[in-house]
């Protein structure tokens, strides 16, 4: 039953999608708005059908319907319910189904929210999104069909990958990632729609695109942080970012999207950088498809790589088509959209945004080159090389430092032009903040150059950003007589985009400090202890109480109970474990972490004797590590504030799209 529903829904949606794709240009060219409505109808139909397929899959998973191929692949009667549900996205076919559903959802939302917007932007956007949906729907009835019939029906399945059963974040990271990642199709849709509908010359599509991008950017930021947290909690080496190709793949579009969020503002105000913004939006989408291709084609080996097969060739074709469409679209329209820019002064926020874009783009290219270089080197030299952490860290740290500094200068400088006095008044005081945090870093024991630079620049920029809040709140107090709290609240509410952005900046500051402190000041100690013995880490004493073992439904677990001592009393317990799965030769370690506002104590069970006579514990202390997760939350809060729809005014469509009709602005 589930299989039939799923297969049918996925098959039936194809003609709907195709019809919609052709209905749009037909309706636009023949000036028949009813065809546009029909196209919107197909978007809705696609969403309904994909929802039906997704529900059928979830039902199949939960009821252990092993006649469905995907369930037979990842399901198991001994897997707990939560992990059964989330195995929807745990393997290739399920993840494609999930992708298709999220895309259908976004297309539906875009159309529903913007239905009444005059002009041809939304129809062409819908058409573009349907084209992307077409690809994934082809995959779902072809090489990635999760609803194949399995006969004879097995009694049980192998269960999901053990690494995916260890942590609740498995329920959060992939959905967030898909929502953010797939969401980048929407700005792309707007970009294509703007060019095709002729609205690319006006600036209104930029505002619409930026509003959507803030939301998807926020989701993608949350996804990346959640992925880092999961990696930290689960993988056992105390780290959270290994520059693995798939981590890089998720990070690349985040970088270009961040660049776009800033340079879009320059276009809105000065009508400049139109071609550049088009490049960024289109590039962000291309990077998401590239990232998906890298992980599903098998050309780069990675932690995340799904099993390969013919699907790689489908993705190759798709990415070739996407690249072609993107390059043709941008190159073919670049001279038409170019403006002769004017800037009032080099000392302005516009210039800072240009520099910010430079470093973000350079950062993106560095990560891209590093990720693809092993492939290129093999093709040219015939030798396999690795490009890992040492390369990426060395090349990107200077850029990160520059960006952190710019995050303080940008908010401080006004638009258009800053006078010499303004420059002095805005740019010199934050040096105090910089020196202050530098002193803190030195006091904490940071000795390496970049650790110190990060602290200093964060201090500078944090003070600069705080000053903006202070100036704004002070002005409100003077004008309205509000108290500080009300003034601050109303300030943020009245200019959500700007102050939401500053809040996001603070999130980044926390993350930067967390990363700098935890990597510069990390201490490790490994010791073999008998029950009752203690070891020291960073002035703290921990004591091995004993070992234990238990059988769970899908695995056996051996753990060590370690007590955190404060003097002679026990202040807490940690239980690092090793999980033995029947399908794996090596056990999967699960570390245990005690997180505090000043640092994390991270314990890993490295070795043990089965009679419980001793255990080797690796203890790692990482200062300020929790600030990374906290900062991530603040970033998402900033995106939330910034993206919250403004009640004040609706978007006004310029007269370009509707010849013969003047808008209120032009009529003045």
């Amino acid at each position: 039953m589930n299989g039939i529903v799923g297969r049918s829904a996925l098959l039936i949606t194809l003609p709907f999608i195709l019809f919609g794709i052709f209905a749009v240009p037909f309706g636009v060219k023949r000036k028949r708005p009813e065809w546009i409505s029909i196209a919107y109808g197909t978007v809705f139909a696609n969403f309904l059908l994909l929802t039906a397929a997704a529900l059928a899959m979830i039902t199949a998973l939960v009821t252990h319907d092993f006649s469905v191929s995907y369930v037979a692949q990842v399901g198991s009667r001994s897997t707990p319910l939560l992990f059964t549900v989330i195995s929807l996205w745990g393997a290739l076919e399920g993840s494609i189904l999930f992708w298709g559903w999220v895309l259908a959802l976004y297309a539906f939302l875009v159309v529903t929210i913007n239905k009444n917007r005059p002009g041809n932007l939304i129809p062409y956007t819908a058409m573009t999104l349907l084209c992307v949906s077409l690809f994934f729907s082809i995959l779902l009835v072809g090489p990635a069909n999760p609803f194949h019939v399995v006969f004879p029906v097995p009694l049980d399945g192998p269960g999901p990958n053990p690494l995916l059963q260890n942590h609740f974040l498995m329920a959060i990271h992939p959905p967030l990632l898909y929502l953010g990642y797939v969401g980048m199709s929407v700005p792309f849709g707007f970009a294509v729609g703007a060019v095709l509908s002729g609205e690319a010359e006006s600036n209104d599509w930029i505002r619409l695109t930026r509003n959507w991008t803030v939301v998807t950017w926020g989701l993608l930021s949350a996804a990346i942080i959640a992925g880092m947290w999961w990696s930290y909690d689960v993988l056992g080496w105390g780290g959270y970012w290994a520059w693995d190709p798939v981590e890089n793949a998720s990070f690349l579009p985040w970088l270009t999207a961040t660049a776009f969020l800033h340079s879009a503002m320059v276009q809105e105000r000065r009508s400049m950088l139109r071609v550049w913004n088009l490049n960024l939006v289109v590039g962000t989408f291309v990077l998401t498809i590239l990232g998906t291709f890298l992980t599903r084609s098998g050309i780069i080996s990675s932690v995340h790589a799904f099993t390969t097969g013919t699907i790689g060739y489908y993705f190759l074709t798709f990415i070739a088509l996407v690249l072609l469409a993107a390059l043709v679209l941008v190159a073919g329209n670049s001279d038409r959209l170019k403006t002769n820019g004017r800037l009032d002064s080099a000392a302005s926020r516009e210039t800072i945004f240009l520099l910010n874009n430079l470093f973000l783009t350079a950062f993106m290219l560095t990560v891209l080159v590093g990720t693809l270089f092993p492939l290129v080197a093999e093709a040219i030299r015939g030798v396999k090389v690795s490009v890992g952490g040492p390369f990426f860290n060395r090349m990107t740290l200077p850029m990160i430092a520059a960006l952190l500094f710019l995050m303080g200068v940008g908010p401080a400088l006004p638009w258009k032009a800053a006078t010499k006095e303004e420059l002095k008044a805005k740019l010199i005081p934050p040096v105090i903040g910089g020196v202050l945090l530098l002193a803190v870093a030195l006091a904490m024991g940071v000795k390496n150059l970049y650790g110190l630079l990060v602290f200093a620049f964060v201090g500078y920029s944090a003070q600069a950003n705080l000053t903006e809040f202070w100036i704004g709140a002070r002005a409100r107090r003077a004008a309205h007589g509000e108290n500080w709290a009300t003034a601050l609240w109303k300030l943020i509410a009245s200019n959500r985009r700007r102050y939401g952005g500053y809040v996001a900046h603070f999130g980044v500051f926390f993350v930067a400090l967390g990363i700098a402190a935890s990597s510069s000041l990390r201490t490790e100690h490994e010791a073999t202890l008998k029950p009752g013995e203690t070891m020291m880490i960073r002035g703290k004493t921990i004591r091995l109480k004993g070992m234990w073992g238990r059988e769970e439904k899908q695995r056996s677990v051996v753990g060590a109970t370690v007590e955190l001592m404060s003097g002679t009393s026990v202040a807490g317990t940690l239980e690092p474990r090793m999980n033995f799965y029947p399908t794996q030769a090596e056990p999967v370690p699960t570390p245990d972490v005690e997180s505090g506002p000043f640092g994390d104590l991270y314990l890993n069970l490295v070795a043990f004797r089965p009679d419980g006579s001793n255990a080797t514990i690796k203890a790692i202390y990482e200062p300020l590590l929790g600030w990374i997760w906290f900062g991530g939350g603040v970033v998402v809060l900033g995106a939330f504030i910034s993206g919250w729809p403004s009640r004040r005014r609706r978007t006004v469509v310029s007269s370009v799209a509707m010849p013969g009709r003047t808008s209120a602005r032009d009529a003045a």
Partner: protein
């Protein structure tokens, strides 16, 4: 729409797609080893599984590569927890027996495992015709650039690594390499 610019840009897709097609035909996990052709690293390892007559060596005996110079050596790294090693176990034992009396030595080296487990595994698999040694701290394995098990190194009489087999060894391949090495090695004159 500037078609000239668009076409120039479109051409740029070709090298990128070409690179990806190249990538799809190459396994990123297949790392070629620099060892074949180089002199085989020396080792002196202790026997923990004697093997069976006539290839047997006493328990605790030290097998030195230097002592075996002048003969062909087949060095096989294995482990009791390694599933693929089961595929080749019987094969290697049988092939070793066909070279009794010839200047060929088969040696197994235990990787990331305990001698007790190794002996139990051998017993479970029905015995091993040649001796196996233990490699504490995987020093010899690292010296041979081991990525995993099973890996088999066939060393020529003049002490060079002639061939490396990654994954379960097949009888045909091992015999072929050993035979060609024997053919090219001048045989010592038989004692009168």
């Amino acid at each position: 729409m500037n078609w000239k610019r668009a076409s120039i840009a479109a051409v740029c897709v070709i090298p990128v797609v070409g690179l990806f097609i190249y990538g799809m035909h190459h396994d990123p996990r297949d790392i070629p080893s620099p060892m074949p052709g180089k002199p085989a690293p020396a080792f002196a390892l202790e026997v923990f599984a004697p093997g069976q007559p006539p290839l047997q060596r006493p328990m605790g005996d030290t097998v030195r590569l230097a002592d075996l110079r002048g003969d062909v050596v087949v060095l096989n790294f294995w482990a009791s927890w390694c599933l693929s090693c089961r595929d080749e176990h019987v094969t290697l034992s049988e092939v070793a027996k066909t070279y009794v009396g010839k200047p060929v030595h088969f040696v197994g080296s235990l990787y990331q495992d305990t001698p007790g487990n190794g002996r139990d595994w051998i017993a479970q698999m029905g015995g091993q015709s040649y001796p196996s040694v233990q490699d504490p701290h995987a020093r010899t394995a690292i010296d041979y650039g081991l990525y995993g098990v099973p890996e088999t190194f066939i060393i020529s009489a003049d002490g060079r690594i002639a061939h490396k087999i990654t994954g379960p060894a097949s009888a045909a391949l091992v015999s072929q390499v050993v035979d060609s090495l024997l053919a090219s090695t001048p045989q010592p004159k038989a004692a009168p």
